[in-house]
């Protein structure tokens, strides 16, 4: 309970800081009056159509990555699991890269995220077909790894055959992940998928708790594993697919956040779901503020900073907990 309040407060504070951070130097108070103004001054346009959707996307994507990371770790009973494991983020990336390469992305505003979403959808269908109707975890991981490898191979192929360095650079930059210059159309595109994902993953708490005792014991306690796995795959795919579609691939959130928060919820997977959603939102908000503060004129990519901060943090955690992991 205390943790929920703490994390929620952190999210709210970071959300506000995110709103007032940017290249246009204005006072905090002016930022807020502009946010609710209806006068179409440049400042209110900046606040309402650039900074607000950016902060909202940070919250949505962070929460999605956090909750799907916690669900994936709970399902596989492995603290190394992360939402990208089922191959959906790699597939969404491929969809986006194809849209950039074919010029479709320039044809209309949402062509790129829609293409990414379509690719994610195809990946989900393939994973569910490959993994079969049972509820076992191993086939799911293997199918995910196969899809991930395939999508990465195609992405490399597109880069390889890219006609000129500018096209290749555009693709690479997109893949680094960013929340810069996103609009409300991105928010509205991603939100329905993410809400479906949150609802599906949020409903898994009981089943994930039971899985602490292994698949057999969980099944005997009334958990329907095939259904749980279906909800997990579709929920994660909706969350991660939509996130990747609008922001590119952002790693480490789904891996680090559940890992950091696990001791604070007593290790219980159901409580970790919501804590990780809040924690993920806070982490992405903080990172997105940091990219704007650290190098304001260089367009530092969110995914790059996340990995730069996330990897050492993770190393530190491993170093700290190596005694207890044995």
């Amino acid at each position: 309970m205390k943790l929920t309040v703490l994390l929620t407060t952190l999210c709210v504070v970071l959300f506000v800081i995110s709103l007032v951070t940017g290249t246009t130097p204005v006072s905090v108070w002016h930022s807020f009056t502009s946010l609710f103004a209806t006068d179409d001054t440049p400042m209110s346009v900046v606040m309402q159509q650039i900074r607000l959707p950016r902060a909202l996307l940070a919250v949505m994507i962070g929460a999605s990555l956090g909750v799907s990371g916690a669900a994936m770790q709970g399902y596989l009973r492995n603290p190394l699991a992360e939402p990208g494991l089922i191959g959906v983020s790699a597939a969404a990336g491929l969809g986006a890269v194809l849209a950039l390469q074919t010029g479709l992305a320039a044809a209309f505003a949402l062509a790129l995220p829609l293409s990414a979403l379509l690719a994610a959808l195809i990946a989900v269908a393939m994973i569910l077909t490959l993994a079969g109707p049972g509820g076992a975890a191993l086939t799911l991981i293997l199918a995910g790894i196969a899809i991930s490898a395939l999508a990465s191979a195609f992405t490399s192929l597109v880069l390889n055959l890219s006609p000129n360095p500018f096209a290749a650079a555009e693709i690479v930059f997109w893949m680094l992940g960013s929340l810069a210059d996103r609009s409300f159309s991105h928010v509205w595109l991603a939100l329905p998928f993410m809400v479906v994902g949150w609802v599906l993953l949020g409903s898994l708490g009981r089943g994930l708790d039971a899985l602490t005792l292994g698949e057999d014991a969980a099944a005997a306690m009334g958990v329907r594993l095939p259904r749980l796995r279906l909800a997990l795959v579709i929920g994660t795919a909706a969350c991660v697919g939509a996130g990747t579609a609008v922001a590119g691939s952002i790693g480490f959130v789904g891996l680090v956040v559940p890992h950091v928060l696990r001791p604070f919820v007593g290790g219980q997977p159901s409580r970790l779901l919501w804590a990780s959603a809040l924690g993920g939102a806070a982490m992405v908000l903080a990172a997105d503020i940091a990219v704007r503060v650290a190098l304001p004129d260089r367009d530092l990519k969110l995914g790059v900073l996340m990995a730069l901060v996330g990897a050492p943090l993770f190393l530190h955690l491993i170093y700290k907990t190596r005694g207890t992991l044995q």
Partner: protein, 248 residues
């Protein structure tokens, strides 16, 4: 009224039957020991009876919905898995998942289960930091907290110290004495002889003998199924069973 009735239950792995046409009925008040050498099909029989494995024939438990079954029978798998560093109390409380009881009812059932396994002092310890034997007892307490008319356990006492083995078998026979049904596989024939009201001898997927320990654990059966020679004697302190040698 019996909770578990198996009729012509068969499980095939490929074309080879692992469980071959097993029929049996368990009654309330019975503490049943499932005996048999490694690979006899003990685990497979219990998992198929629960409906966790696809099978031919019928099992009354497998015909229930998953929630009905979870309230009818607690299952303690052989693999002692505790995935996350949760507290013992919280782990035992997982046994309450199939129930929609009030907080007080659940807390009472958890406290009761902890007391039965002598784990009151461990309630706030982290389960993953306990020793293997202690973890096994915590997991038994979890199954007890499920508070079901039937308990099915797969080698629950393997790896426990002698006192804990006896205490656990006594918990099981007390459960049976209170009108529940216990089915447990075990390799300790001596404890089976002392604490089980009925033993079922399984060999190559089929039931060889079924009845009171004294009638089942005969020299012929032990020689045929386990390939061992043993001493069995009724004393004034209960039955004493001691394995002596292998037969070649």
């Amino acid at each position: 009224m019996s909770l578990l009735t198996l009729q012509n239950l068969s499980v095939k792995r490929g074309a080879c039957p692992v469980i071959d046409n097993v029929s049996l009925t368990l009654h309330p008040g019975e503490c049943v020991g499932l005996l048999g050498p490694n690979g006899a099909g003990k685990t497979t029989l219990m998992r198929a009876a629960l409906g966790l494995l696809s099978h031919e024939g019928t099992s009354s438990l497998a015909q229930m919905t998953s929630m009905e079954r979870a309230r009818a029978c607690a299952w303690l798998p052989q693999a002692r898995e505790i995935a996350w560093p949760v507290s013992v109390e919280r782990l035992v409380r997982l046994g309450r998942l199939p129930h929609s009881g009030t907080k007080a009812e659940n807390a009472a059932a958890v406290a009761d289960a902890l007391a039965q396994m002598g784990l009151e002092a461990y309630a706030q310890r982290t389960a993953t930091q306990l020793s293997g034997g202690e973890q096994a007892r915590v997991l038994i307490a979890r199954a007890l907290a499920q508070d079901t008319p039937m308990m099915m356990a797969d080698e629950p006492i393997a790896g426990l110290d002698p006192a804990a083995q006896i205490a656990t078998m006594r918990v099981f026979s007390d459960l049976a004495a209170s009108g529940r049904t216990v089915l447990t596989s075990l390799h300790d024939l001596g404890l089976a002889a002392r604490h089980c009201t009925r033993v079922i001898l399984l060999h190559r997927g089929a039931i060889v003998a079924d009845g009171a320990p004294v009638d089942v654990m005969t020299p012929q059966n032990l020689a045929e199924v386990f390939g061992i020679l043993a001493h069995y004697e009724m004393t004034d302190r209960g039955p004493v069973f001691q394995t002596l040698d292998t037969l070649t």
